[in-house]
Symmetry: C2
Subunit: 202 residues, 2 copies
Amino acid sequence: MSGTSSNLINKAVEQLSRFPGIGQKSALRMALFLLKRPEGDTLELNNALQKMRSQIKFCNQCYNLSDSELCNVCISPSKDSSMVCIVKDFQDVIAIENTGQYHGLFHVLGGVISPVDGVGPSDIKIPELFNRIKLGEIKEAVIALSSTLEGDTTEYYIAKKLRELGVQVSTLSKGISVGGELEFADEITLARSIKNRVTIDD
Amino acid sequence: MSGTSSNLINKAVEQLSRFPGIGQKSALRMALFLLKRPEGDTLELNNALQKMRSQIKFCNQCYNLSDSELCNVCISPSKDSSMVCIVKDFQDVIAIENTGQYHGLFHVLGGVISPVDGVGPSDIKIPELFNRIKLGEIKEAVIALSSTLEGDTTEYYIAKKLRELGVQVSTLSKGISVGGELEFADEITLARSIKNRVTIDD
């Protein structure tokens, strides 16, 4: 697409199409939407984005994205502060919170150990995790990292140390997707889900 | 989705999900993308949107969206100023320009005649069209409106008057979609495409 006859629109489309998953056509639809709405709507949008981008912080305890020194998860009285779920990224916190199945705190590593990329344990929030554990309140840790070479390496490294510190450690179960067709599952996942089969109680 | 633990992010997501075709999940992905990029990127985006929204004008001649008094189509020396294509909306200008098959000027009505909604000829840019025709430069008009009751009514009204003013009038051909399966075309469209069948020359 060569763009529209308006440079003002073209520049807005160029900016909007930088978003992941937003192509030229979607970006144009978004720009035209703003043009059809009152100018105040564009101001409101801009204010929300600008405010988010300039005011967001990292939680001092778990390194989750936060509006203040401690994030809303860390300060929530309904969370079980004896449990910590160790994740790579703040997106993972959102995904796990949205399941409604986990009621403890988090620790966001901000990456995984990757010797190839020169990322060692102290380049991510692993020392901070160990210091946090040493405070003694955390009794149980769930490691929720992607099942990749780097994820598994990081999990192995963390699990070993946490057990030494007297913490009970678990990891996410691996297996076939709920609602997924068995025939489309890869062999390694399928093998793992057979090995880790779960007894059906009556 | 109940949102994230950050109100700053939630407000940005709320604003972004107002765009057509952007759901909560996409909006969250967009917000997180901004958080991962330098703050300058958010500023650039906001500037482009704000500038577009506050500076955009309507072309004095064709009522297309424009950066100045006359739009880039109207001032282009490569356009055939004896032809005008009459469309409902500025999106239609973009769609027709992108085909690369039309090289004349446009006239954007800003709506169609709709007695049910109380929209008469003088509520849209029809008087302006006739005044423009009376200047004498335009010899041919292509009416490019959607094939709906309102579109057809508007076409009938405009075509009659333009012919009286000595202008050659045509409309977009109706028929089956290029690349579309014949069996999925509706009966009326299919009937029209049989009636308006085109001779194949060798």
